[in-house]
Symmetry: C3
Amino acid sequence: MIWNTNLRWRLPVTCLLLQVALVVLFGVFVRYDLDADPHWIGRQGDENTTSDMENEFYYRYPTCTPPAPGLPCGVQGLLPQPLAKGAVAVAWATGRPLGLINADFCVGSVCVAFGAVLGKVSPVQLLIMTLFQVTLFSVNEFILLSLLEVKDAGGSMTIHTFGAYFGLTVTWILYRPSLHQSKERQSSVYHSDLFAMIGTLFLWMYWPSFNSAVSKHGDAQHRAAINTYCSLAACVLTSVALSSALHKKGKLDMVHIQNATLAGGVAVGTAAEMMLMPYGSLIVGFICGIVSTLGFVYLTPFLESRLRIQDTCGIHNLHGLPGIIGAIVGAVTASCASAKVYGIKGLANFFGFDGFKTSWDSSMQGKFQAAGLFVSLAIALVGGIIVGVILKLPFWGQPADENCFEDSVYWEMPEEPKSTALHPEDSTLKPAEP
Amino acid sequence: MIWNTNLRWRLPVTCLLLQVALVVLFGVFVRYDLDADPHWIGRQGDENTTSDMENEFYYRYPTCTPPAPGLPCGVQGLLPQPLAKGAVAVAWATGRPLGLINADFCVGSVCVAFGAVLGKVSPVQLLIMTLFQVTLFSVNEFILLSLLEVKDAGGSMTIHTFGAYFGLTVTWILYRPSLHQSKERQSSVYHSDLFAMIGTLFLWMYWPSFNSAVSKHGDAQHRAAINTYCSLAACVLTSVALSSALHKKGKLDMVHIQNATLAGGVAVGTAAEMMLMPYGSLIVGFICGIVSTLGFVYLTPFLESRLRIQDTCGIHNLHGLPGIIGAIVGAVTASCASAKVYGIKGLANFFGFDGFKTSWDSSMQGKFQAAGLFVSLAIALVGGIIVGVILKLPFWGQPADENCFEDSVYWEMPEEPKSTALHPEDSTLKPAEP
Amino acid sequence: MIWNTNLRWRLPVTCLLLQVALVVLFGVFVRYDLDADPHWIGRQGDENTTSDMENEFYYRYPTCTPPAPGLPCGVQGLLPQPLAKGAVAVAWATGRPLGLINADFCVGSVCVAFGAVLGKVSPVQLLIMTLFQVTLFSVNEFILLSLLEVKDAGGSMTIHTFGAYFGLTVTWILYRPSLHQSKERQSSVYHSDLFAMIGTLFLWMYWPSFNSAVSKHGDAQHRAAINTYCSLAACVLTSVALSSALHKKGKLDMVHIQNATLAGGVAVGTAAEMMLMPYGSLIVGFICGIVSTLGFVYLTPFLESRLRIQDTCGIHNLHGLPGIIGAIVGAVTASCASAKVYGIKGLANFFGFDGFKTSWDSSMQGKFQAAGLFVSLAIALVGGIIVGVILKLPFWGQPADENCFEDSVYWEMPEEPKSTALHPEDSTLKPAEP
């Protein structure tokens, strides 16, 4: 018997067949349950018990764990927390009270940007960068949510697109021509497999709760969780299929699986609370899995060699591109909103359209959503250039090229003992057993 | 002073004394609080405020984190997610809307079965196996919950018994006679201590929320969490006692502690939402800790050498046997249900017995519970044989014996750098400090 | 260009400037939102919908994950669980029903004490110590909460102060003069970087839910989460600043960051549910970050060399001192309570003062809070001495000095294979690829 373990065609084809079957099944059969539908008026349909809190969602599903967005940055993910609180303070100062969840979304955006520069900047630079980004995040969020009245529950625009392109612009300004030599060390130090895998699993688990955290109570929160979940599921199949198809022996690449599997959650962010439909979410996840995996294989090397953008953790593929996809999906979904789908009451309640505001229509909402994307990109690019130039000033303790990706430059490291930590029985100081 | 660190008798005796004291104390003194009792009619007992959502449970306890069941399988735990969504779709197609939590329970069942075959099959085989198992899981669940009207909140039968015996049957069909030689590698690769420990702690923490996730609102969900918690606690003491007693120097075995401590959660699955009583849960955990630890020490080697069942992760001890115990405990507890214990309203509400359906009685419910166990076992065995034969077909990319438990066959691995990832300061490329 | 990566003054100054700006901004602008204010009477202010469950908190924030306190102790954190259940049983026996959350708080206290003795005692000693500590914890909690009617939602006194000084007294009695030689092994074995980092991140995330878990429903729970969050955020900045300032090259110490960043959560425990105000929480976190980091640098070595207290994990800095600070902050905050701040109804509701109990006033509450601290310390010291003496008895299997911090004394370890677990492709048994 010949053992042929090259899965280059078998694995992708199996995945794609399953994917197509899934979309067809969902498209033909699956609709939102009553609890996740804008026509929702309480479980029993009884006036006396009408309450969003009676929604099945609150009996069964977890709620958002605020600081989780900082998880993949490790301990450095704690740094932006105090400054994001400052943004909350300033928001109060200007008469627009914000909750702590907004601060967490801000932390998420900062951690995304960190992913582009980690290992190449000093802790002081991280703090300065955070200070500016928190300010810009708040300005951008204010323009989008309050002036343009854009919907962006999962933050495809405010968190991911803004964070990613801000970080990429900063790292473009901080370009180090001779850094590509240490690429090998970069991947081994910063992609510690075990930690990244735990991070991926937890983000995967909590993403539905992120995307539903600031939605309107009741059916909108419920729907946001369902849509996110469907998109993430589709993204897994696509990433596995493409990762295998792009390797000459059909092997899977851990970096693709760890990152591209999450891209579906980003791409469904804006539209998650809308009537995207479960099969729509599957299609979004499918497209995003393709784009994200292709990005890791072809775009990241191109950005580094031609555009001089050194993207440490590949945030362009996990946050940049999926964020833009998410914004576009949101604009399209919003421009398709109708009283037929949401119900008249549901439409008014969801889009803040109260029946008297006759000027509102869905195509206008769609255009404003699109405008939100361009505003986010503009603020990210202009802000990133300014902050990058500031960070180039020579007194922030930036590391030399040889010290990049060396934790020991800024961290006191213990002397490595002769014995390994996990197997202390090999210690040279062998105990005499009684 | 002589330092005698052999705890072979001292540790087990201490544990057992504490265990007995615990059961006696609970048996004599502890009863369910109002919030976890079927007589529950709202906190103030006031008609106007009667609401399950007012139950203390929702103010204090966490709710289920859907995809957590996949945690111990690592990134491979994400694979069944899309296919389980497909089962949801098919369920909708046949007019029985299912929620996403059901899909997660299905994922849990698939991940249990994965535990028997991990390291010996290709990703394509995992996908094919998932496709069939998802179908069989749905059929089995439909027969149990809809036709037999069995109660199985924590899935002792539908998730654990079915998943474990399905997986064991598949690995029995896929038997590899010359694989036992690589046993050492198997344990070192697949039981990476740190990751397994984190997995155990998180599963331990979330198990009460799994077992209560699909129970009826209010007191039933509250009771399910309490019972699961008590059973898990008892299981810890028993596993520690027995693990030490079975080692010639009284040492603890990490594999027993990591696995047997969780078995109590499986064994209390079916009966968790019933009036099992806290001391009853302790006794279930106690029995299950013994059975599971003995299984690891004596049964797994026997299964491998005599029955040709190669159980990679020992799922028979964590899911198979505890699942059967759970089904039996559920049948016995159900057959003891009475209006005295549940209240007339509570009994009708809990078992769906509405006071007019005169044919229902508790002994009949008990018999149907027992029937549910046999149906689950039958579907698992027959299905496992069929799927095993399909997986033996030579074009699924199955690895040769020498490649089993080698991640590098299907995963692109980075070249290992000279320096270790955790201590980059030892790198040969030593930076010149300024 | 000269690359000066010594951040000794730049990093601390940046952090402190940000810290001051944060406190000023919060002090001038930020007040509690309606949902976190004791004047809270339901979202719409409408009598018909008045319900604590309508509080925004329950729609957005996570609830406590019971056994999480045991996380940093690893698998050993599961050991106290069954015994803490025993305390619940005894509490029921004496007519004071306790919930499982109390049992978890008890587990937290035991795990704190474990931190002082880990690696120097046998599993039997841990069980005996747990048995006594659970009893003493219940007695102390009964005196504080039921007799003195002290408020201690986050357990600064009952969990942290009591647990830490109990553990420190036990380790003082168990002093081993020749143990300081193995200090190097201690730090490498017990501070496994990766695991500690994951532990820190999860505790940081869940601390707001711990501190709010047993508060009164509605605004008090909401406020407890906000205050804890602010204190933790301030603590991060201070720890980073001081850790850098105390190193001769301005480097950060991982031990400080992993521990001192959490101290803010301990120090705000008692007062978290009170009207501490967000800026008050920032100040508490600021002070506590300083005290905790200084403790690691100067106090722990002093305790070991002069007072013969060998504090394995530095619990004095993370739980002992912050616990005392928390108790003092709580006493001061309580003695400042007034009808103006809480509202007349809010004051009566929060402090259990019903308007008729004319003898209650805030200064008396403050004095009782202070008394609670001294009771906790007294029970911890006296109890610790007695338990320490009992643990010195020669038949509990205590390890010899040479065996301390050696897991292999009590745990069966697998033979270490030639190949490393993470890179199985280097195995000597190289597979022949087809």
